[in-house]
């Protein structure tokens, strides 16, 4: 299993790196607030990122992820607060701070009329890469992100996945210490998603990365630490493992069964470990006699086997039986409801 080996050695790299660089704070975000007129973009964000760390930014659309990233990279100024990159304040010393950042915005900043090669050449010149070093540098980056074979194609003719890679390549130009990647896998097909994730994981070996996503699985795969951001505020900071473990107390799955609704619900409720059964509306239910249910059960309890057996005994047909991943929404509901409970207590 070469893949596992690689992962293992990659993990070792990180620990080794941690020992050496562990205490150096490369990014420091203090009291960061951004207002849009009367609307709050983000409010009072505080966090630091250590050198070599891969930090995940998790939040639903409109939570303030992109806003935060736009401020960290110096695209937009903060209303209040500061961002310091390797000792340089992004508003007071923008040129020095920007030299240390590679940014892949949500929409890759590419020029469709240019070829991959001439685009990267332009970025090199823009970022002030030494003239003699440009060509070897570009070749290295193109190999790394896997677009070397497409180097002479016009960007507008590339597939979405390759456009994304080109965008990533652009962020890598001039080899900055910090990479800020805003939803790098959004809109890609599953194969491309896996490829880009692996790529980012590999980049994490010698870069400090801030990555945003609304997919929990993605964050937990790549990041060492996660910031959950909701309505412009930090809701939680922790390792992905702890987040999933501590926050979610139950598992859920979806099933579609043909049979009388009340009876089926009663039968499912009678199974050991089931906490809750909810009916889910299906579009075609009236014609086919199928009803959908969302079953919530205790962690690690096997509910699916007894459910299958019980339905089979009664001749009720199961068409679908599918685990629902712990979604960000669940964690959010959990996090926000906890906050509400606390508020009620006070």
């Amino acid at each position: 299993m070469p893949e596992t080996e690689r992962t293992v050695s990659f993990r070792n790299d990180i620990t080794a790196k941690k020992v050496i660089r562990g205490c150096i704070e490369l990014i420091e975000v203090k009291n960061l607030t951004k207002r849009y007129g009367n609307m709050r973009g983000v409010t009072d964000l505080n966090f630091t990122v250590e050198k070599g760390e891969v930090l995940g930014f998790l939040g639903p659309n409109g939570a303030g992820k992109s806003t935060t990233m736009n401020i960290i990279t110096g695209y937009k100024p903060p209303t209040e607060g500061s961002v310091v990159i390797d000792g340089f304040d992004i508003t007071r010393n923008p040129i020095e701070a920007k030299k240390r950042i590679g940014y892949l915005p949500e929409q890759p900043p590419i020029y469709p009329e240019l070829s991959v090669m001439s685009y990267l050449k332009f970025v090199c010149e823009l970022k002030g890469v030494e003239k003699t070093k440009i060509m070897p540098h570009i070749h290295e980056i193109m190999e790394l992100v896997g677009i070397y074979d497409h180097r002479n194609r016009l960007i507008k003719n590339l597939s979405k996945g390759y456009k994304q890679r080109t965008g990533l390549a652009q962020a890598l130009v001039s080899n900055p210490d910090v990479l800020v990647l805003d939803e790098p896998t959004v809109g890609l097909d599953p194969k491309q998603i896996t490829e880009i994730r692996t790529l980012i994981k590999n980049l994490g070996r010698d870069h400090t990365i801030i990555l945003s996503s609304h997919i929990l699985a993605e964050i937990s795969m790549i990041c060492e630490r996660v910031i959950i951001i909701n309505k412009g505020e930090i809701a939680a900071i922790d390792t992905p493992k702890n987040l999933a473990k501590n926050i979610m107390a139950s598992e859920r799955f979806l099933t579609r069964i043909k049979g009388p609704k009340e009876r089926v619900i009663q039968m499912i409720k009678n199974i050991d470990g089931v906490q809750n059964v909810k009916e889910m509306r299906l579009e075609e239910e009236s014609e086919t006699g199928f009803y959908g249910y969302i079953v919530e059960n205790e962690k690690n309890a096997d509910v699916k086997t007894p459910l299958f057996l019980a339905m089979a005994r009664n001749g009720y047909i199961i068409h679908e039986l599918r685990s629902l991943d712990v979604s960000l929404e669940d964690i959010f509901l959990q996090v926000t409801s906890e906050e509400n409970e606390n508020a009620e207590v006070h």
Partner: protein, 237 residues
């Protein structure tokens, strides 16, 4: 700055836009040349450039409308404004690129001059003066249009605003005569960008119109930089 310049110029010539622009420029000047110089058997290039002057209030807004609006639309401004470069060098690079394209288009009209020199009698001084004047006028016009495009994020609005600005400056020359106050008349006349152009066309090179146009260009490029800088550093919104 040169990175931006090179990128703009190459994008311009990699897309049909560049060729259509230069094609239109040559078509219009060719029509004027045919009617005024060939059919009218006149040997001065002045007429052609004079008419092109009027046409230019349409041409320059089209040339500059993409420069700033397109970056915003394609979200590539996120690359430019997060790169370790000053906003002034980004704007300057774009300005010079637009000017360069105009230079190429204008150079292509040199073919008409060749015809005139072969088949007609004319003063070389007048030709050089006319071209230099038109070049400087273009430099000022492009700066004004670039400024207009910095005020909006939409290409069409940008072109219309540029057209409005140039039309306004042109009208000043025509309207200035009907202003009763001598003082105001002087100001408006001074602002009327076309007036100075005529000083070039008689073949005498004077320093004042040269300075006039260059400062016009400089001023509006400066305004553009300020507008963009201001927008990027707005603490709210």
């Amino acid at each position: 700055m040169w990175a931006i310049f090179k990128k703009e110029v190459s994008v311009f010539f990699l897309t049909p836009f560049g060729y259509i622009f230069i094609g239109m420029f040559l078509l219009l000047s060719g029509i004027v040349f045919s009617f005024y110089n060939l059919a009218g058997s006149r040997a001065d290039i002045l007429g052609m450039l004079g008419v092109m002057n009027f046409v230019s209030i349409v041409i320059f807004p089209v040339l500059t409308m993409k420069l700033l609006a397109e970056e915003k639309k394609m979200a590539t401004d996120q690359l430019l404004f997060t790169a370790p470069v000053k906003i002034s060098s980004i704007i300057l690079g774009k300005y010079l690129a637009a000017f360069f394209v105009f230079l190429v288009a204008l150079a292509a009209t040199g073919i008409f001059v060749v015809f005139i020199l072969i088949y007609g009698k004319t003063s070389t001084g007048a030709i050089v003066g006319s071209y230099l004047g038109f070049l400087l006028l273009g430099a000022a016009y492009i700066a004004i249009c670039l400024f207009a495009s910095s005020l909006t994020e939409n290409q069409v609005t940008s072109a219309l605003a540029g057209f409005g600005f140039l039309f306004g400056f042109m009208l000043m020359g025509l309207l200035s005569n009907s202003i009763p106050s001598e003082f105001l008349k002087g100001i408006v006349k001074w602002l009327s960008i076309l007036n100075k152009y005529e000083e070039f066309t008689n073949g005498i090179l004077k320093i004042s119109p040269l300075v006039y146009y260059l400062s016009f260009a400089f001023l509006f490029v400066f305004f553009t930089i300020r507008v963009v800088e201001n927008r990027q550093s707005k603490r709210e919104g």
